[in-house]
Amino acid sequence: MNAVATLSHPDRLLADLIAGRLPDARGRFGPFGGRYVPEMLIPALERLESGVREHLKAPEFQAELAAQLRSWVGRPTALTFAPRLSERLGARIWLKREDLAHTGAHKINNAIGQGLLARRLGAKRIVAETGAGQHGVASAAACARLGLPCTVYMGAVDMERQAPNVGRMRLLGAQVVPVTSGDRTLRAAIDEALRDWVADPLNTYYLIGSAIGPHPYPYLVRELQAVIGREAREQIVAATGSLPDAVIACVGGGSNSIGAFHAFVPDASVEIIGVEAGGRGTGLGENAATVAHGRPGVLHGTYSMLLQDADGQIQETHSVSAGLDYPSVGPEHSLLHALGRVHYTTAGDDEALEAVRTLGETEGILPAIESAHALVGAARWAREHPGRTIVVCLSGRGDKDMQTLLAKLIKEPA
């Protein structure tokens, strides 16, 4: 199905998006987005929405956030030219180094921003979900920094494959709650975090970890992650004198990618590519490539592309990377796909693992397996466009994945 054909005014929607008019007053990115939640959560979301309106762009809040980003998160992160990788791929590769941000991934940009907002809104406690554990660690760290109690829901499957992050969260003072319901990965963790929030919507702040969920979360998370693309755009222009030919990021829920893409969406000459988890195949349940294999539906409060069966039941997903193992995607991505402004592709488990090794060996950087999906996309684009300039969002570092990487990539017996 060609989703572009179903949009009534694609040109106007793109213009609206570029002019900052989306999401609209109803939290919509064209047909996508909205607020599909139990009535119990409506007051909390209305309060969050008015809090976002009042504080997010206010000079004091921006100053407070900027200070935290500079002195605690370690921003701006570097834009690193990758000469040996460039030579191998036949294009000029620049890496936006979110792996260098505090706690090792882009997730901290969102966690500290929402944490500051939660404190202003008078929240008594924070709940968060986590897949790879990066958002959990970032939330735990931000909460410790701001003096807020933090509970993190994490699927039992993910607790096993991202064990180092469980220990990190606990050392940072968070309570980690294993989720054994549903698919026992990110999706079930979000279900449980929502149930916790429903139980005490007025005192609890739900610190969602990606550009998903009911309005205003997709907007809020985009705004907090847009620093990635803003810095990268300035840095690449300063370093090369021009815009890149392509910007590439991995897409789970879609936060590092929307953050990386946002500043470049108006630059018509820049190709934008999102890379989803191709897992081990194209069949149902074998991947987490929502845009590639999904159709629109409602999960976790938003109308967006969704991996579902004919009856509207949500599909189990598979990816070697916990952070991409999610059956939906942020609503703004669904619109960018429908408009054709961003091209979405996939990278398989094995390709991604190989890309981890390649980056390690060529540049001395071990990326997260999530981020390695973006590198696979970059390698493919480079083959089709030799000699061009590509900015890749390196969303996080690979330390959390050591268990998987040792098992899959190091062949000698221990």
């Binding site: 109803r26 909205g34 607020r35 599909y36 939640v37 139990p38 009535e39 119990m40 409506i42 007051p43 209305e46 319901s181 549903g182 999706r187 279900d191 929502l194 149930r195 429903v198 139980a199 005490d200 919507p201 007025l202 539906g297 409602v298 999960l299 976790h300 409060g301 969704l306 579902q308 004919a310 009856d311 509207g312 039941q313 949500i314």
Partner: protein
């Protein structure tokens, strides 16, 4: 009579007779799909409204009992199509039937939903993740068939919105008695009783309290403050244990 009016009328009749009316919930096909018709018939004979839960993989407003029931029902292949076929085969029942479903299975069913539901003697829908603000399309489709869309109100709902929800609800107003998911046993404190009184003031249709209703004491406490009570998780547990739902509902009613 148009289907949605059957709901309010059935509840009002019981309430007039000393009520409160019972809205009895079951997850379709749980514990065994072969029992579905028997169970629906039993509930229709002993309650004023039957609420049939369409299982969903991600029931975010539900506690552990209904989560467990949903997973088991899905594992047996229960779907909305199957449910509507079963209900059609059952034919007219002594109590109106509501479908409780999360939105996505309804969207996936497609535009023929309202007509098909009407043919299966369904009188209305409860969609816990569809707030009034987003409900325009479904509401319009249901209205064409005379089917109700029941709105929920909660103890944290602001006064202005409470008015809109009460005015917009059809069949009855579903007054959630507590914050949290379904299934926990709750005491009914004074402020909840006051809130229910306030909802009843505003609502042009009957008011039924739900979430956490399990005991005759709770029903007694609510008598006079609501027109009906919704029993969900506790009844699902009765069916799960293989007990007779008629006897249990009778005991809950108390008179």
């Amino acid at each position: 009579m148009i289907p949605r009016d059957r709901i309010s009328q059935s509840i009002r009749a019981a309430a007039a007779g000393g009520g409160p009316a019972l809205v009895a919930y079951l997850t379709a096909g749980y514990p065994r799909r072969e029992k579905f018709r028997d169970h629906v018939r039993a509930l229709a004979e002993s309650a004023e409204v039957v609420e049939v839960g369409v299982p969903f993989t991600d029931p975010m407003a539900d506690g552990v009992t209904i989560q467990r029931a949903s997973v088991a029902a899905l594992a047996q292949g229960v779907s909305l199509h199957w449910i509507l076929e079963e209900l059609a085969a059952l034919g007219p029942l002594p109590a109106p039937v509501l479908l409780m479903s999360y939105l996505n299975p309804l969207l996936a069913f497609g535009p023929q939903l309202a007509a098909r539901a009407a043919q299966s003697n369904v009188a209305g829908f409860i969609v816990p993740d569809l707030p009034l603000d987003e409900s325009g399309d479904l509401r319009a489709a249901l209205t064409r068939e005379g089917l109700a869309l029941v709105q929920m109100v909660t103890p944290v709902t602001r006064a202005e919105r409470l008015k809109q929800l009460c005015a917009g609800s059809e069949g009855f107003v579903y007054a959630v008695t507590m914050t949290g998911t379904t299934g926990k046993n709750v005491a009914v404190p004074d402020d909840v009783v006051h809130y229910l009184d306030a909802v009843r003031e505003l609502a042009p249709v009957p008011v039924c309290a739900g979430f956490g209703i399990r005991s005759r004491e709770q029903v007694e406490r609510l008598r006079g403050h609501v027109d009906g009570v919704v029993v969900g998780s506790a009844l699902v547990e009765v069916l799960e244990r293989g007990e007779d739902p008629r006897a249990w509902l009778k005991a809950l009613r108390g008179r």
